[in-house]
């Protein structure tokens, strides 16, 4: 027995693109979203302009959502989350809880597009005082201010005279266990730096970084524009601490301290605002999905492997080594590695499709999806999905239009 529908968990950019792509090949889709609105993090975190072209996030996500809600093959269920899984790949029964109680969905495959959440800078070894100082904010906080076109110091409502970004907060950090690069923060910080300068041309803006990762069009459309046109100052040297300082002339400020590694000397600068470029972490939805779906069927190798790759190790797990017992660090993963929205929207569109499908009007044409779906089982939306399908590595350049939607993303 097999079921011919696909469940997509997550109504953000990746989930919307997956749902649209699957429906376009003629397969019914049930899209589950825990919030009461589609759009995911760009909407819930009030993103403003998205890279590289700066189009506002809200209209972009609205268009993506309308492409899904307007498709008769897509059943969108808001405020709905998965609670249990049974069956085998090709013939799953997914129990879900929604506003009308619990129900069951029969599906052939499941796409997990539960996305990320921003790293919380209050915890761990960070010394940036996010919860202590009003004027220390994060990238998404600044996004919400940029969305309202009003960037002011939270402490006193005045325009900032100086503002800095601290990169890699919660990423590339062996101390806290998030050793990966979150990939988007350099581009987003540079974009926001430009937007701050556009609002406040006299504000001195700095970006303190380990190295700037400016992929594709970010290089010439954001990175050099920020420096050459808007005079954003990039300083190689991460900030180690943020403390308050009372200045007799300028009043309350923050002091940021670190090392300018290019000049080989310590630096200490007064700032009106500090923006922490917080990275990505598995969202609570991802952790829930990992728990629910990983405890599901183990008969299929692919689903076991897929689930195992993002099943967190229990904190109490130990590995016996010749040196003795060691505590294993809990290992958490997002449903896929951190990705920019363009790649997140390209990969899921392949998640339920085959390449070179005749008769389609997008890059990834329709194909014998039904037969393929049965072998997919539980699939993580993301780059790995393309590899599972044996798809040709990305031949679309960054920022390319995908399937007619606005492929530009963060």
């Amino acid at each position: 027995m097999s079921f011919d529908s696909v469940v997509v968990i997550g109504g953000g950019p990746a989930g919307l693109r997956a749902a649209r792509g699957i429906a376009e090949v003629g397969t019914p889709v049930v899209l589950l979203e825990r919030a009461n609105v589609l759009g995911g993090t760009p909407i819930l975190e009030n993103y403003a302009g998205i890279t590289p072209h700066g189009e506002e996030a809200e209209p972009v996500m609205r268009r993506m959502a309308e492409q899904v809600t307007g498709n008769s093959l897509v059943d969108v269920r808001l405020e709905t989350t998965p609670t249990a899984l049974s069956g085998v790949p090709g013939a799953f029964t997914l129990e879900v809880a929604g506003p009308d109680g619990t129900s069951e969905i029969k599906c052939g495959a499941i796409v997990v597009a539960t996305g990320f959440q921003h790293f919380d800078p209050g915890r761990e070894t960070q010394l940036y005082g996010y919860y202590e100082f009003d004027d220390v904010i994060t990238l998404p906080d600044l996004e919400s201010m940029l969305k309202s076109h009003n960037v002011v110091r939270p402490s006193n409502g005045q325009a900032p005279r100086s503002l800095c970004f601290v990169q890699c907060v919660g990423s590339r950090d062996r101390q806290i266990g998030n050793e990966y690069c979150s990939k988007v923060c350099c581009g987003v910080a540079s974009k926001e730096a430009i937007e701050v300068k556009q609002l406040h041309p006299d504000c001195k803006v700095y970006i303190f970084y380990i190295d700037m990762r400016m992929y594709g069009y970010w290089e010439n459309e954001i990175y050099w524009v920020a420096q050459e046109k808007h005079h954003v100052q990039y300083v190689k040297g991460i900030i180690t601490e943020v403390l308050p300082k009372e200045d007799p002339v300028h009043g309350k400020q923050l002091i940021v301290r670190g090392e300018d590694t290019t000049m080989g000397r310590p630096m200490e600068l007064p700032m009106d605002m500090v923006v922490l470029s917080v990275g990505m972490e598995p969202s609570s939805g991802t952790l829930d999905a990992a728990r629910i779906l990983a405890s599901g069927p183990t008969g299929s190798g692919s689903s076991t492997r897929s689930a195992a790759r993002w099943t967190p190790s229990p904190p109490a797990a130990r590995a016996s080594t010749p040196a003795g017992r060691h505590w294993a660090r809990p290992t958490w993963r997002t449903a896929c590695p951190p990705e920019r929205t363009p790649r997140c929207t390209r990969s899921p569109s392949s998640a339920g499709t085959r390449r070179r499908w005749p008769g389609a009007d997008n890059h990834h044409g329709p194909g014998p999806g039904r037969r393929h779906l049965r072998s997919l089982g539980v699939l993580r939306a993301g780059v790995a999905a393309c590899q599972h399908l044996g798809a040709v590595p990305d031949r679309c350049g960054p920022g390319a239009q995908v399937g007619g939607d606005a492929g530009a993303g963060r």
Binding site: P154, Q175, I176, L243, G324
Partner: protein, 394 residues
């Protein structure tokens, strides 16, 4: 204010969820080894106060019936630090043990010269813990360096069975069990836990006293998860201990830009390059405090920090630097707030930087207090008493 700023404020006000740090909770392994019969765990008993730590694990601080693990540096150089801790405990009516068989933790050896070895350091620690266990009094550590060192030793013992085997051999020769306390407690954590009781016994008004706080590296940077972080103090972003006590007695805690900096003690370079210690302590800590906060007193909670920050200032003063602010432990400050004698209990005459303006601001006449102290010393000179005891100090 704009709506996004209100939203940001609400989000910050809601606080953050403390999650597990790099290492899982040490207690899991501790209990596992106790269940396996490998180690003996001395339990927190009687009345205990729960305090929050960095990653959310609640820490239990036993309130009374404590075994005082004293500090060699305090007893030797700043004895008022130790006597203030004892005095406060006596004033609150709590019983304690002042052991005669406690050894130095020997962390000085480890940090200064690295000529020791893991088994020796761990055996010294466990021997002291066993001595406390045998009395039934729960150990409380006076020195921040001992405390940080013991936390590291605990981790080494829990993670390495071969180290436990070596230490067990030493303990067997001494006829003592391999003991670890359920919690390793620093006295400043105990003071923080009972700060409201200290305030309830307060006799001196501290509301006109401005303080700056220096947090000891060995307290919160070693085994960082096991340190007190309170959401109500620094919004849980910096360690809470000394600040909590200062605020509880009504002092004004002021900020300065080198809060996170080490005092500069440096166990090695204070021996072999002491000018570095003095430069660091005065230029990066004391001068910054004076310029930015102009405090009446600097409070800290470690032997080395009090020593360095206090006793480095004379050298800088000779070069007309902007120094000259008294330094003491928060235990001495709390004792003064409770009415302790500045010389008989807090023994401020052992301190280097001039503390008399501070006493005057507190409403204490230093000359009269000195005369009282001299009168008591006269009894010793006349042979009427061998030494001053608790009945003499009030």
């Amino acid at each position: 204010m704009t709506i996004p700023i209100e939203a940001i404020r609400s989000k910050k006000h809601a606080g953050f969820e403390r999650t597990e740090g790099r290492y899982p909770d040490f207690r899991e392994e501790l209990e596992h080894l106790a269940d396996a019969g490998e180690i003996v765990v001395q339990r927190v008993e009687g009345e205990a106060i729960e305090v929050p730590t960095k990653f959310g694990r609640p820490k239990m601080i036993q309130k009374g019936h404590l075994w005082h693990h004293k500090s060699c540096g305090q007893c030797g150089h700043i004895p008022g630090y130790s006597t203030s801790i004892f005095w406060i405990m006596r004033k609150l009516g709590l019983d304690y043990e002042d052991p005669k068989d406690q050894t130095s933790c020997t962390a000085w050896n480890y940090y200064a010269s690295a000529t020791s070895n893991a088994a020796a350091q761990a055996a010294v620690a466990v021997r002291n813990f066993a001595a406390a266990y045998e009395t039934g009094f729960f150990p409380m550590i006076h020195c921040g360096t001992s405390y940080g060192h013991y936390k590291e030793v605990r981790h080494e013992l829990l993670a390495h069975p071969e180290l436990r085997a070596d230490v067990r051999k030493v303990m067997d020769k001494l006829g003592k069990p391999l003991v670890l306390p359920e919690e390793i407690v620093h006295y400043s954590e105990w003071l923080y836990a009972i700060r409201d009781e200290i305030a309830a016994h307060q006799k001196v008004d501290m509301s006109n006293i401005a303080v700056t706080v220096h947090p000891a590296c060995h307290y919160y940077k070693l085994v960082e998860g096991d340190a007190i972080y309170d959401p109500d103090i620094y919004a849980g972003q910096r360690t809470a201990v000394v600040t909590g006590v200062a605020e509880a007695v009504g002092a004004e805690v002021r900020e300065y830009s080198t809060w996170f900096d080490c005092c500069g003690f440096g166990f090695r370079h204070i021996l072999v390059q002491r000018d570095f210690t003095r430069s660091f302590a005065t230029l990066r800590k004391i001068e910054r405090m004076k310029e930015e906060a102009d405090p009446d007193v600097v409070l800290t909670h470690d032997t080395g920090c009090v020593t360095t920050l206090d006793k480095s200032q004379f050298a800088a003063q000779a070069h007309d630097r902007n120094v000259g602010v008294p330094v003491m432990s928060e235990a001495q400050f709390a004792a003064l707030a409770m009415g302790a004698h500045p010389y008989k209990v807090c023994q401020l005459h052992w301190h280097s930087t001039n503390y008399k303006p501070l006493l005057i601001k507190m409403g204490i006449d230093p000359d009269q207090a000195w005369a009282e102290f001299q009168e008591d010393l006269g009894k010793l000179e006349r042979g009427e008493k061998k030494y001053l005891d608790w009945d003499d100090v009030g």
